[in-house]
Amino acid sequence: MKKRMVAIVMTIAMAASLVAGCGVPKSGNDDGGSGDSGEKVFRYGTRTEPTTLDPTKANCIPDSEIQNGITEGLVRNVGGEVLPGVAKEWEVSEDGLVYTFHLNEDAKWSDGEQIKAQDFVYSWQRLMNPETAAAYAYIGEYIKNGVLVEKGKMDPSELGVAAKDDVTLEVTLEHPTSYFLKMIGVQPQFVPLRQDIVEKYGADFAADSEKNVYSGPFVLTSSKNQKWVFEPNENYWDKDSIKLDRVELSYIQNQETQLAMYENGELDFTELPKVSVEKYKDKAVQYKNGNTDYFYINCDGTNPALKNVNFRLALNYGFDRNTYNQLASEGIGAPSNVFTFRGLKGVDSDDSTYGEESKLESYPLDGDNDKAKEYLAKAEEELGMKASDITVEITTTDNDAAKKQAEVVQELWVKALGINVTINQVTYAEMLQRHRTGEFEIGWGGWVGDYDDPYTYLELFKTDCPYNNSNYSNPKVDELLEASQYETDPKKRQELLVQAEQIVLDEGAVLPQAEREVYYLIDDDVEGLVTYYVGINYDWRYVDIVK
């Protein structure tokens, strides 16, 4: 009986603790949202979880978006426009290789210290230092000696960045880079870092909001429980331009959940699931985030058919991009027959885009079955195979959209060309590995630019590019791309790039499908959200809540 008593007491004790629950901190604030308490609060969600708060190690768009609020580089890039940041003015040498930045003495860290040129030198050296192992270090290869430092063949101190004094920074580049300012304005790897802070926390630097100092218009006040809270930086040099009192970013993976929260007034902004766009047609704002979907066609793989130019062209002409877009993405997206994102800035005027200016000749969006058959016939002859004997395999990732994409392409090709198509689904990690090793025939792909220039897309077809996933090689293209790196006249440079892209399209090294379109909903009283298509998607620094 004694035993039983023990059991009963234990059970009761356990039950009591169950009902009481354990005092878990709340994952968010309860307050009703923007306006209720007179505070201006902007709340939104991200579907991809940010991976780090260390700007040097930033690795994905959500990382960059956070850094965009809490750090500031030499210049700011607001929706494509370059504005002074920590540097109030700068000069560029005639050959376009040396940039001299004059820093603003008023620019301060969130703890009140002045932002000095040395902070940039430290940060950039840290980026390229092999010991840091920054995933995105490649972006610093533009700086003189960048590659050598990254390979460990040169000391970081020899990197082409030097502080002349506290407020003067001199940057030397490998080759003239017309998009350099735009790039450092949006990529978080180029922001200043405080050596004392980084070294104080070591590996725990930026592990949470307290273990960091901030150079941007906002400071992070909390980064706990998959929620990031930003408040204005009191020491920011241009704090008058900041209107918000708080920004709350939550990690909400499920898009339907985000929409539901928006509908309930728990978010001020949300991207729409594709299937919901129809319902919100009047309210939704359309925007292209620079993501392009396509399949790499392995031009140097094991499948002989794919080494054949005519067969690759048959694949491209026999692909009805409009139908694809309807089937694979509910008609949300812009079918595309070129590789480069067409919304990139052009050179003729401020409004015109690369897509309008380039005038590439490419496969019709509706597909061209006659031409496809023509190319297929040629290919059959050259390969000595019948179309029905040719099998190609699409390797794609395990996410839903990628699977659907592959299924639709398979269906369209089988119907249009009479070839056999199989699908192999692998994890994202394995897909990247296969990109690297070339163990695929036709591979899932997608690209988003790092800077507002066609080169960020086209470098994928340079023979020695580490992410030349199509294993495409053409000396002419290499030559054109290399020349574009040294050409300083924008118009001529664009012509070189257009020529290169035309060759790639004529040889069918890739199957362009669509540029992604996003529809988002935003509260009527929110003003000033800037969207961008490279580096970050949403820039909320200058958002204001108007009543």
Binding site: G21, T51, P130, A207
Partner: protein, 306 residues
Amino acid sequence: MRKYIFKRLVAAVLTMWVLITVVFFLVRLMPGDPFQNPKMTAEIRANMESYYGFDKPLIVQYGNYMKNLFKGDLGYSMKFTNKTVNGIIAESFPFSADLGIRALVFAVSFGLVLGIISARNRGGKLDFFCVIVAVLGTSIPDFIMGAVLQYGFGIKWGLLPVAQYQGIEYTILPACAIGFYTLASVSRIMRASMLEVASQDYIKTARSKGVSEFRITAKHQIRNAIMPVMTIMGPTVASVLTGTFVIESIFAIPGMGKYYVESVSNNDYSMVLGMTIFYGVFLIFCNLVVDVLYGVADPRVRIGER
């Protein structure tokens, strides 16, 4: 008793060691690596590999890992680069556990009641209803259950909050979604064991002595029938408390289940290992507690002499 617990603990340490070893080598067999950046050059990859010590022989890496493990250090996550695995578990486990506890209370209490009702009305309409509930609970995939609950109660009728974790009312839907499966299995086991007990001699004796039906059920039947339910509680408690991937992602709860599943597809070696170790220890602990409680509560099981 003490000897029994000691023996179990020794076995647990052994189990954990095998588990860690198997998982340590198994994760390395997964295709791909943790550095998932499409714009990565060979140099950067090499730098990252030496940063995490992957350039050393695997057995050396294993030794280092075990050494750190003895100090209680699970290392840094490879995806969330400046967070420690310990930190991530410490931050996310309370949410999963809190939700899990609510789900368990809900599931066990309602499950027992349903099981009892259904056994008392064997063959009747109520029984049929309870069986249907039990089958539905175990047959609707949880991603459908979660989404339907969220859509129905959160969006369509607006009765409860849609997502996130900001108070008691926020936990109702996810707790129900998590608990429904357990509810169903508890009610099924309870029903079966109630019926089993009903045919025992002591029930017949009680009945022949003229004890009222209510007293028989309350005093004799339930108390004895509840034992088999306890046997499934070990694994159930462990899995429910460490979070459910699907429900956490639907309801945007910053819990552990999501990290657990995603760390595998991210090839985040240290996270997979850390989460597995935490989960394994927790599971073994729950099983032990349940077995001990079982032994204490049921005089027929004399574990001390096993």
